[in-house]
Amino acid sequence: MAAQPALRCEDLCVDIAGKRIVKSVSLSLAPGQWYGILGVNGSGKTTLLNSLCGRLPVAQGRIWLGDEEVTATPQRRAALWGYAPPPDSLPPALTPQVLLALVAESRQSQVPDDPALLEALDYHALRHKMIGTLSAGQKQKIALMCAFVGEPRRIILDEPFNWLDPLAIYALKNCLTQRAREGALILTALHDVSSFMTRCDAGVLLADGEIKRGFSSDDLSEGRKDIAAFEHMLYASLRPA
């Protein structure tokens, strides 16, 4: 018997200011994988992720998280995902330690204590500084920490490697892979083609709000045998027709 999908959406459409941004996207994602969404700017990646985690209303279609339908309950969708907010939305007057304590309290859980994650995101060095004084990369690290509060089984990260230094990127990739192996569903929007090719277990290519092409784990394994040709094919697919 196949495992129940951690996320299922059917014919999902999302509108912003009367314009349809996401058009009839259907996904069925099993737990325990790192799922990548690749696409150019304006292809609808962020809008899709925001609607899945309750930040945007659904115009059409249905969403299930596990066996629970959450289409009409955005607050439930928001509660069931670990979510990294945009770094500029973090309160600048707080320290990361206070912020994460409040996030943990609001989720009735604990601040993450996984040493690998804390080291990857440099938490111990940053926790007593004011968020407003941090650099863009440091704010991104704190925003990413928010996604791991409460050890969620589903995590949404929108372009998580933006502004991070190479060491942090490498350590974060390892952490995400580890979480996926432990059974979590990691859903990421990516601009980084090499991460998509080498790290993701499956994924889709999004163009103009629609799924242009899907990649199963077999497709990705096959592609990794000839990385150069696979990369060429991906870039060719990203270009608008």
Binding site: A17, G54, R55, P74, Q75, A78, A79, Y83, P85, P86, S89, L90, P91, A93, L94, T95, V98, L99, L102, V103, E105, S106, R107, M130, A143, C146
Partner: protein, 354 residues
């Protein structure tokens, strides 16, 4: 109280505490802020006292102030506070719109509490017989402020004009300039000092010239502080999309209007003769306005090369004003002060008999 609200309350408390810790490290800023606040309170009390003396319904002014405060404090969906909650890590606490509105209403009411208590104090001292009307007005002001804050904007901004969607975006250069710390101390002192000095001079001297002179000099100094056209800002604005009129508005006219507003407020608070004070302001405003336009059109115009002779005349006009006007004003003030001291001394030694 729902558990989500407790977290949001703690979030606001932490924000306040953090700001307080920052302020504590800068006692000069704290002093200036306190001085500004006390000046504002003094001015407001003077205004209310004058209105109550003329038997005007001051409870209506209180209601209007409560309305304005609530309208400004209730977070609109576009406000930085609402955006940080809607996009940030605490979204799940207020994702339900009813809960969100309730929290915003409670927060606004709490933030308006000090103003309400202060107005209640004024009402109790100045016109206690209207306390019932005051209560009604405050409640109506609170409700009307929240309702109007919840109403959608009358004109939807164009989707492409992102800057226009931010409230008061056109005044952003002015706010940036006012936030500059070098302006805080002299600006704050002048804003408090002009009405206070004018009021004291007028109340201690039957002739209004000294008070009016102090008012004029203070206004001129405030203009020097607020009104110069910023070279860097204008150069920057030239590369932004927009007309020359918009650039002029943002870099020069907005500070000018602020200066004029502050001076008018000082005039009203100090109780100086309105006609004479307005004449002083008219003369100063004309001079400052001409200087602003002259500077903008010559030094920072959109024409690429400004002739040397234009810059020369500009410099000469500025120098002439600096050389002649300021010493003349100081001399005049010194003479007035000497005369005042002589009068005070004479009247103390030989008090006039009835």
């Amino acid at each position: 109280m729902p558990p989500g609200f407790q977290i949001l309350l703690r979030l606001d408390q932490e924000r306040l505490l953090s700001r307080w810790r920052l302020w504590r490290r800068r006692p000069a800023d704290l002093l200036v802020a306190l001085a500004l606040l006390s000046g504002l309170l003094f001015g407001l009390f003077q205004f209310f006292s004058a209105q109550a003396h003329d038997n005007h319904p001051i409870w209506a002014y209180s209601a209007a102030l409560v309305y304005i405060a609530v309208r400004q404090l209730y977070p609109s969906a576009r406000s930085a506070y609402a955006q940080s909650l809607l996009r940030g890590p605490f979204f799940h606490l207020i994702s339900d719109p009813h809960q969100r509105r309730l929290w915003f209403a409670l927060r606004t009411a709490a933030l308006c509490l000090p103003l309400g208590l202060m107005l209640l104090g004024f009402q109790t001292v100045l016109a206690p017989r209207d306390l019932g009307l005051w209560g009604l007005g405050a409640v109506l002001g609170l409700g009307a402020g929240m309702l109007s804050a919840l109403m959608p904007p009358l004109f939807a901004a164009e989707a492409s004009a992102h800057a226009n969607r931010v409230p008061l975006a056109a005044l952003a250069p002015l706010w940036c300039r006012l936030r500059h710390k070098r302006l805080w101390l002299p600006g704050g002192l002048l804003i408090i000092g002009i009405p206070l000095a004018t009021h004291l001079a007028l109340s201690n001297n039957p002739e209004p010239q000294t008070g009016l002179g102090l008012f004029g000099i203070g206004s001129a100094l405030l203009a020097v502080l607020l009104c110069p056209v910023s070279g860097e800002l204008t150069q920057f604005m030239r590369w932004q999309p927009g007309t020359m009129v918009r650039t002029l508005t943002q870099t020069a006219l907005a500070p000018f209007v602020l200066w004029l507003g502050l001076c008018l407020l000082s005039l009203l608070i100090s109780g100086a003769p309105l006609k004479d004070g307005l004449m002083i302001l008219l003369a100063l405003g004309a001079a400052v306005g001409v200087l602003i336009l002259w500077t903008f059109l010559t030094r920072f115009s959109h024409t690429p090369a400004t002739a040397d002779w234009v810059l020369g005349i500009d410099l000469a006009v500025t120098a002439l004003l600096a050389v002649l006007a300021l010493p003349a004003a100081l001399l005049w003030l010194a003479v007035r002060l000497i005369l005042l001291m002589r009068r005070v001394r004479r009247e103390r030694w030989r008090p006039s008999q009835p």
